[in-house]
């Protein structure tokens, strides 16, 4: 068995949707105990990339390796079985279902024997309640439908679920987008804890204040292509910010803003 230094490795992975090239020739490596941050503009292909990692999409081209071995996931279940858990941008929650049923959706814990096996709801309730409490969310009633939960509560639920089932790799697509300050801090703490436990974390965020403290490595995507990976030691916070916004555009923005102020002054 060839043991690779990387948990996840992508070699020239592309994904097409009909004529749309969502991602093209992506190279990427993720180490154990490391947080890998994906940066890029809206529509850059970040979500497509992590959905490929999560087994939702199959790579159209290229190789996907885990522990140095090529893998071919047919469904997200295969990825989950390999210990890769994902928080999708759309959270993958069902409004009409309860907290517990959502938490264990697709991975129900069972009790009983043979054909009489059943979903162990009491134990599941307890785990779900605890998982959410760790995220700073107190659920009132884990058997209540989540339709009425706030956006942040739902996001926390999706993250708690991934933490619980992500044995090796945790993928988070904009996990802090809808969260308050306290809950965002909780998510970052959770990521730090996961790293300390030796999990690999892949994080997508548009917030440099979230990305920079926690990330060890950055990969920048632009219009479906990788503009390269950087270790944290190689880049400063300002450079990361520039990468996120697309540096040139930021300069342009500054110039535009300066122009507005000038016009304003002249008018007054």
């Amino acid at each position: 068995m060839s043991k690779s230094e990387f948990v996840i490795e992508l070699k020239k992975v592309s994904r097409f949707f009909g004529s749309v090239i969502a991602i093209k020739d992506i190279d990427m490596v993720v180490k154990q105990g490391e947080c890998h941050c994906l940066l890029g503009d809206n529509g850059a292909g970040k979500s497509t990339l992590i959905k490929t990692l999560a087994g939702v999409h199959k790579p159209s081209e290229g190789e996907y390796l885990i522990d140095g071995e090529p893998v071919n996931f047919d469904s997200p279940k295969d990825a989950l079985d390999a210990g890769i858990a994902t928080v999708y941008q759309d959270l993958a929650l069902v409004s009409l279902m309860s907290v517990t049923r959502n938490f264990f959706m697709g991975r129900e814990i069972q009790k009983g024997w043979g054909p009489f096996k059943q979903f162990d709801i009491e134990k599941a309730n307890e785990i779900a309640r605890q998982g959410l409490a760790d995220m700073g969310i107190n659920v009132r009633n884990p058997s209540q439908a989540i339709g009425t939960m706030s956006g942040g509560e739902r996001q926390s639920l999706a993250i708690a679920r991934a933490i619980h089932f992500g044995a090796r790799v945790l993928i988070l697509d904009e996990p802090t987008a809808a969260l308050g300050v306290k809950q965002s801090a909780n998510v970052l703490k959770v990521i730090a804890k996961a790293k300390a436990r030796g999990l690999a974390v892949i994080l997508i965020t548009h917030n440099v204040h979230h990305a920079y403290p926690i990330a060890d490595r950055f990969t920048l995507l632009n219009r479906g292509q990788s503009l390269g990976s950087y270790l944290k030691s190689e880049v400063t916070r300002e450079q990361v910010l520039e990468m996120m916004a697309g540096g040139a555009e930021l300069e342009q923005l500054e110039a535009d803003l300066a122009e507005f102020t000038r016009v304003d002054k002249e008018a007054s």
């Binding site: 939702v56 993958a92 069902v94 959706m105 129900e108 339709g147």
Partner: protein
Amino acid sequence: MTSNSVAHANKDERVRKESAIKGLLNRPELGALAGAILVFIFFGIFAGDTGIYSLEGTISWLVFSAQLGILAIGACLLMIAGEFDLSIGSMIGFAGMLLAIPTVYWGWPIEMAVLFAFVGSMLLGGINGLIVVRTGLPSFIVSLAFLFILRGLTIGIASWLTNRTIVGGIGEFSDGTFISWLFSGHILTGLFTWAANSGWIETYKDGSPVVPGIPMLVVWWIGLGIVSSWVLLKTRIGNWIFAVGGDLNAAKNVGIPTARLKIALFMFTAFCACLFATIQVMEFGSASADRGLLKEFEAIIAAVIGGTLLTGGYGAILGACFGALIFGIVSVGLNFMGVDSSWFRVFLGLMLLIAVIFNNYVRKRITEAK
């Protein structure tokens, strides 16, 4: 940390005590339960003297409810998973022929013919499901196509093979067999005979009870209801069914085998239709190409009255069974009262309308801020 905040950690200050009734309102089967009670009381008052709640009357509406109930269970599970099957009624006619023709014309043993009917109809149900998940077309349309195809095939094949659309004389082959008892026999016959001998229940002149026992049809209904309800509420598969109907994409993303699950549920609906057909064929001793007409709608209506959402993701087997019970009592009750059966349809339509409006309100309560 003060002791005050410790106390709060256990008792959330943002939980307002809701009345028990409001808690109950969150259950899908509530409307149907209330409806069934109302209907019971109504006929007790207005038809109490017609014998609707005598033993014989009770069995007659139970039988009616059980027939529809079996179909409603299948339709309900499928609807919760977000799909419809409009071919249930046609499947009943087709399955009846699958059973009758081999028995009467090809000399197959009855056991084999029954097995053939079940395998055949479940296979067709599976094909129906396969087309739905493969093409991504609404099951409404795909199963509508099957409604016509199967009904046409039933009539066509029956007249081609037998020159008629009714195949009779199955009794000759089935009478006295275990299979015949299994689908059209009675249980607790000893008890009923004993009660008849003791003069507690109505008897014919020869002393045998008017109601020989609990029909197997009713046993099937209750058994199927309990098993399906258990699967839906207590097992992993049940969780998958809710998830698939609630949000297909989410279900896929968490790795639920959505396609296989849906196909299996289409097969289960076909199973229910075939069970209905088999019981009827055994009961009447004949299969007819026009059996089961409009049953798909009645089954869907029963499920909707039972609180199942047309949009999927929410519902209850118990509710569907109560829905079927309402059907049974009202249909038989109006009949006992001598009311023209056209009024039954009016009632049905109204019930459906009320149920849909009510369900919509419940869904909003659950998914939107209160």
